[in-house]
Subunit: 310 residues, 2 copies
DNA sequence: TTCAAGTGATAGGAAAATCCTATCATTAAA
DNA sequence: TTTAATGATAGGATTTTCCTATCACTTGAA
């Protein structure tokens, strides 16, 4: 674009004049004075270096150039109206396309229960969901590539605000023909010497599991770290060890752990804490807070049969 | 559109800020001061009633609303660029779509020889040609529905300017088996008592023919007035009378008057005068004058074999 | 911890643009 | 000839836009 562009007002005035075919009538319709209109149309002609309007003592006519540019002027105004409409849309509800990151260990098992309810509550809300490892998501959030992140705690950044959604118990998963399967109630000491499979270190559950194993005297399988819950399940079925899986995963019908047994370990409270995270100073933080509250209540109602702690 | 729209500048500033992700850098690129940018972006946000940009001490990020509206803003600017381009195009040569009216008695026989040359001279020139009766065209021109008219004189309006292009002789057309066909040279008195066919009164040649007939003692056929030169030719072939046809028509190869003879009448100078007409105060009058000159020279070179008077 | 460099926000005032009222000159129509 | 309507112009008030100087804060390096 060159040094100077016309003003939107000038275009509006020009279109108004073209429609009214008279400076005075147009000025009246546009609620401005006739000299103002004269001056602005003249300014427009000056920036474009063209004569747009043919003045006579009996009204005005467009020049050929004026007729051609009238089309363009209308298009510009049209686009501007589109922008205003869009802004109004966004204003009417919390709008815009929010980019949310989720962990692959929770997204597939949590979001299907949440998204319908969100769209019902905020019909104009658009979500773009991206799955990635929590550490990566945290960085994306900090650097503005994401607006919201839904991951298990913990995370450690002071410029981020988070709202805890709920706590999800982890349950021990063992092969059906494993010795421990015979036990109804598994006690902490049973785990001593067992091999425990975990996710990659980038996943937040890793460190939790690690300290737990250290406490119990169980070993962490260093060689095979899973990158998905499904992978962990497969590895347990192949007798590579035991693992802790989140209740939501176990509950999800698609992944009924056939050939596996699920057990609680007495006196051990292992759970992951899901949180919704955003930048501390985000202008939408008010809305994000509402969103967290809504998600919480949605989980409560839609996942009432799952043991979750709020 | 509501009461107030953003400014083009504000949109440009906003886009610049979105691209630079920092008020200072953006301000530098946009050649404005940082406080100005801050203020204008704030104004934009106020008009739209939205927060577009998330400010932090380490640069800026777009909010979801900001990202969505960035698209719209770019579109508006795009359209504005289109307008500027169009204006530049029109500026580079005489441009815009000129609406020209021609008489059906001259357009089909004259324009094919002219238009190619016009487009060669002014490559950006666009012409929209409309055929109609001269009287109608004159009104359309006066009321701004046309920019230019190419018709035979005369016409009588003081607010119109015209430039004579050339004079075109009219020639007598008679059936091959008519008595006068035997004569090599036809003299004025031969026409006494003959029936002369003319176009409708709305055509400019009518009055000329009328006064000539009165002078020679010939009769005008009141019952059958033609509305096209072809119609006149047909009527002559059906022995309904004689007529004067313009040289250009006779010359046009498509209408070689088979079965008819063309004769000049001695001492009679009947011709029609073609003129290019425009509104006296039209801003393009300078260009129209050039156009007339160009048409004249095109006719001279492309129709040199036709006897025309300049 | 300290310091330097970078961020956006703010204040105050200058410059430019926008707009208005009042008026003029010309034209078209009554 | 008069009357009403047209667009152009002058002068001045108002609003917007913009700049300089400065502040408050954060970040990252020393």
């Amino acid at each position: 674009m060159s040094l100077e562009t016309p003003t939107i007002k000038q275009l509006e005035y020009f279109v108004g004049l073209a429609e009214a075919t008279s400076f005075r009538r147009a000025a009246e319709r546009l609620n401005i004075s006739q000299p103002t209109l004269t001056a602005q149309v003249y300014n427009l002609e000056k920036v474009l270096n063209l004569t747009l309007v043919e003045r006579s003592r009996s009204g005005t006519t467009l020049t050929p150039a004026g007729r051609d540019l009238l089309v363009n002027a209308r298009q510009v105004i049209e686009e501007m109206c589109g922008l205003m409409d869009q802004a109004a849309m966004i204003n009417s509800g919390p709008g815009g396309t929010f980019r949310m990151g989720v962990s692959p260990t929770s997204g597939p098992y949590l979001l299907p229960h949440i998204l319908p309810g969100l769209h019902q509550a905020y019909s104009s809300l658009k979500l773009y969901v991206r799955e990635n490892m929590p550490k990566t998501l945290e960085l994306d959030l900090l650097e503005g590539r994401l607006d919201l992140v839904l991951i298990p705690k913990p995370f450690d950044n002071s410029s981020l605000t988070s709202e805890v959604l709920f706590h999800e118990p982890m349950q021990l998963v063992i092969p059906e023909d494993h010795d421990l399967s015979k036990l109804k109630k598994i006690k902490p000491h049973h785990l001593r010497g067992q091999t425990i499979l975990t996710l990659l270190e980038q996943y937040s559950s890793y460190h939790q599991t690690e300290s737990l194993c250290a406490e119990l005297g169980a070993n962490i399988a260093r060689d095979y770290e899973g990158s998905s819950l499904d992978a962990l399940r497969q590895m347990v079925m192949m007798r590579m060890g035991l693992t802790f899986l989140p209740t939501l995963y176990i509950h999800s019908e698609i992944h009924q752990p056939q050939g596996l047994n699920v057990r609680e370990v007495e006196k051990i409270k292992l759970y992951r804490t899901h949180a919704l995270v955003w930048r501390r100073n985000s202008p939408n933080r008010g809305f994000y807070r509402q969103l967290a509250e809504l998600i919480r209540s949605l989980v409560k109602t839609h996942l009432s049969e799952v043991k979750l702690i709020f």
